[in-house]
Symmetry: C2
Subunit: 554 residues, 2 copies
């Protein structure tokens, strides 16, 4: 059997490796346009940040051998043609035309099965000066090498990132760690607009401010301007002219589908190649996987495009299984996406709040802050979790996390529960491992689910920071601070109309609270204030609500 | 409504706090035998190890206020009676007789609902000299204070731990971190006998050896011997006399059920108080929760006793809900138990391999080693996962983890999947968050499930280290080392009959491999050797199997 794989980054090599294990006699060929295969592209920002010192390690195995053509040939009996581009697919004759980009020689490869793992390409916005020296994209191995060289050679002290998506945020963090002055321009009204909701984005924006990152939201780059040496020196934007001795454009990616489209394969509404549950395209002899293939969102049932290396690897395996006759489905995705930026662990799975509303759900959500380990354990840190659920069924629809603490573990646990269709009350029963180095006895993930379930049942009266901010603009509010004196002294509440009644005195002093306006109860994490609000409602103060996440999210 | 709660450590205070939020007018009383409530008992080993410097922090809130009687009274309107022991329950009259242990005064408390959270007590084995100065148990707050005082005062340089269960291992680690000479005596044939299987225990025992811990297995303490000052100086054991200037006996716990038994409540086969799904005892007005209550194992359906603070907290919430009329079930448990010891993160959920076999399952298992993050990311570390599944259905029955890497996240994800009845192929589809700080593109948890599914399908031919050790005793084996030359030089394989063929040469040199004996293929983690074994089978070497976990587990 002849199998040709077009694209050698993640899904392609994975397909080849798995297929070789399943079919020792198949003829397997990988055609790769670039000169490297099986490259750890997700490591590029960390290489820029010098956390990964050796570029080579991004394409080596853990035992130090380069994953090059020779590697695949000798160990996997897989032929790799680097520097070769697939030009056309002749589906009738099952042949792919290839051009060698060095000598421009054309050739043809026969296939029984063709696997398209053509990946994605960086979106290059049509900005004046985009080709200036010092303006870079970050997508291919060569890109990161060029940026590194430019930064190392030139005494570059200020850099601007265009786009506050995942890659933009990782690069901003990496370069700030090198003590460069970092400016981030984002056309949307928040950082990570495709990843987290506005309320969670605020936590990240606050952290960037503390780290002296210049963040411009609602800001479009209009032109890159050169100095006398022809290199970029500034950016013209709607927010004025910004200095930048180097620019990284991180404006997102789109699937590479030209080859598939020209061959008449169906393209999904998401813009990527349409595949069925077996990852077969509209031609059953052609599979597609990785960043060029469309997925189905498990929660919405819609076609989506969420390019992820994790998905690519899982899909490569599924494609190999199906070629080898082990009929295997690739399931719908929840699209779990994570990053570390400015010491925050950030992630999302499932639907965002607006997305869920647009899907027709009656949505209920809560923001919960807590610790990843007991406060008495020295290494504990804060995690904030936003849960989004269906008000009617209690079914979990989406989770977002952010914090210096071990947030991604909670995201993975909640995402796993969601994969199995969990309702909030199912999460209350999860057996998560507890010992002081790892969690609180009631893990923050379980606490978050309990909180939202309480809210759904009308037992918890919480408001998100954004909701309180909105109310504040419209009507007078009483801010009831129930923290301890030393906490207030360390971080006083900067609001008008603050009433201080320590939690220990609330049960005898509640009659000091005004009844004629909404009362927002404040504490550190939103736990004491939830408790207090239950009491306040029992004495008729139905106007009271607690600030979700407490001061940690305000 | 009058609610009396007997026991104030974890489940009791949780019941009280939740119940107060649900029923502001209930009369809630906690009766606690000791003088502290809501004590973070799980932090005790870390206090001994000086990782937690302040004893006070174990009973304080995160905002620095002691969780004492005054705290519960003023903030939760919960009455706490410390130093009081419940003597008898009069179920007909719904009264509990209480004795104040200081003045020996008796009194009675009426209840509408009684909640038994009487906890567990340390098992004290009947060893001669158990009461000697310097011989301690570690169960109550006073215990840890006494040990700390003894160690600090006396220039104690060597300490022995009796029992290599979770607490014993945590204490051994804590005291070794203080640079004491630590001896561990375990009556069973492995460390953590109730937690992990023998093959996983080996990994921990190896680490203890590297840390110069004197570990005696199959070793019973027969007597504690005193020196001239009357303090313990040595232990007589079947393995000889062992020096010890202090001893911590960590021989396990048993549920405190005397009060319940005397009141005629049903005791489960597990030895703990029998409760239904609503945590009601055989008397519907009496609930039991936490370390005194029996649970049902989700996988086996059997009554079990797995005392955990995480369970206690969840149960306290369920009891409060049921008292308040919010009918809530506490589900069957998978018993997830975790600890950190000697820099290894160790845990288990579900059934062990022998336990699963005894339940009548046709069991298949695999041991998989890998990294928690990409090898090029500087903070990656190893995680070893053992999965136990039903051979017929592929249903996951149990998971064990061990490693310096982030093993507990994987345990929690796999445990969550198991809670929802996952089969191995469901785990292949999990959307776990991937970015270099957090995971490999194919997370080790997913890789483990894929490996066992391969084994189940006859595609992977792996043997556990224990199986290979056993075979080695019975028949001659060929050990085929396919690692790189530098790897072999750094850590050569110390076996007879080693054949070295690097992976890159295997496809042309396989005819050097003997056909007349089993071939065990070795590599670093068991990944390359799995790949190689697929090839060897394809050329007729059906005698070949790879060592699961590779050298990392040998």
């Amino acid at each position: 059997m002849k199998v040709v794989i077009i694209g050698g980054t993640a899904a392609g090599p994975k397909t080849a490796a798995r297929l070789r294990r399943l079919m020792q006699n198949a003829e397997i060929t990988i055609v790769e346009q670039g000169d490297m295969i099986s490259f750890g592209a997700c490591g590029m920002p960390f290489y820029l940040g010098r956390l990964i010192p050796q570029f080579d390690s991004l394409y080596s195995t853990s035992y130090g051998v380069a994953r090059d053509s020779q590697f695949f040939q000798s160990r996997k009996d897989v032929r790799v043609m680097t520097g070769c581009r697939a030009v056309t697919i002749n589906r009738d004759q099952k042949r792919v035309q290839i051009v060698n980009q060095i000598n421009q020689e054309y050739s043809e490869l026969e296939y029984d099965y063709l696997v398209l793992t053509t990946g994605a390409e960086a979106v290059i916005p049509p900005i004046k000066g985009i080709d200036l020296p010092g303006v870079f994209k970050l997508h291919k191995p060569q890109d990161v090498q060029r940026i590194q060289e430019y930064l190392n050679a030139g005494g570059v002290k200020s850099v601007a990132i265009i786009g506050a998506g995942v890659i933009g945020m990782e690069v901003a963090d990496a370069l700030a760690a090198r003590r460069m002055k970092v400016t981030v321009c984002e056309a949307g009204q928040q950082v990570l607009p495709k990843l987290v909701d506005a309320d969670m984005a605020r936590l990240i924006e606050r952290q960037m401010k503390q780290r002296k990152i210049e963040l411009y939201l609602n800001c479009r780059a209009e032109a890159f301007n050169a100095g006398s040496d022809g290199k970029v020196t500034s950016i013209s934007t709607g927010s004025g002219e910004l200095d930048a001795e180097a620019v990284v454009v991180a404006a997102g990616v789109r699937p590479r589908v030209e080859l598939a489209r020209a061959a008449g394969l169906t393209i999904a509404d998401s813009g990527a190649i349409k595949v069925d549950a077996y990852l077969q395209t509209s031609d059953p002899c052609i599979f597609a996987a990785g960043d060029c293939a469309s997925q189905v969102n498990q929660i919405s049932g819609r076609e989506v495009y969420i390019p992820l290396a994790s998905t690519a690897n899982k899909q490569g395996r599924v494609v190999a299984n199906n070629i080898a006759g082990l009929k295997t489905e690739f399931s719908a995705v929840t699209g779990t996406t994570v990053l570390q930026s400015f010491d925050l662990n950030i992630g999302r799975t499932g639907l965002g709040e607006q997305e869920a509303i647009m899907q027709g759900y009656e949505v209920i959500s809560a923001i919960v802050a807590g610790h990843d380990a007991p406060h008495y354990y020295p290494l504990h840190a804060t995690v904030t979790i936003k849960l989004i659920a269906d008000r009617n069924s209690g079914k979990l629809l989406g989770t977002q996390v952010c914090g210096a603490g071990e947030a991604i573990k909670r995201l993975d646990v909640l995402g796993t529960a969601m994969k199995f269709g969990a309702c909030l009350k199912d999460i209350a029963n999860l057996d998560m491992g507890y010992a002081p180095p790892f969690a609180e006895a009631m893990d923050i993930a379980i606490h978050a689910a309990n909180t939202l379930e309480n809210k759904r049942a009308g037992l918890a009266h919480g408001l998100s920071p954004l909701a309180v901010e909105q109310m504040k603009k419209e009507i007078p509010l009483c801010f009831l601070d129930i923290r301890e004196a030393d906490e207030i002294q360390a971080k006083p509440l900067q609001e008008q109309n603050v009433l201080v009644i320590p939690a220990a005195e609330l049960r005898r002093r509640y009659n000091e609270i005004p009844e004629d306006m909404p009362v927002i109860v404040f504490c550190g994490l939103g736990i004491r204030s939830y408790d207090a609000t239950c009491f306040l409602h029992s004495v008729g103060l139905d106007n009271a609500a607690y600030l979700e996440g407490g001061l940690s999210g305000w």
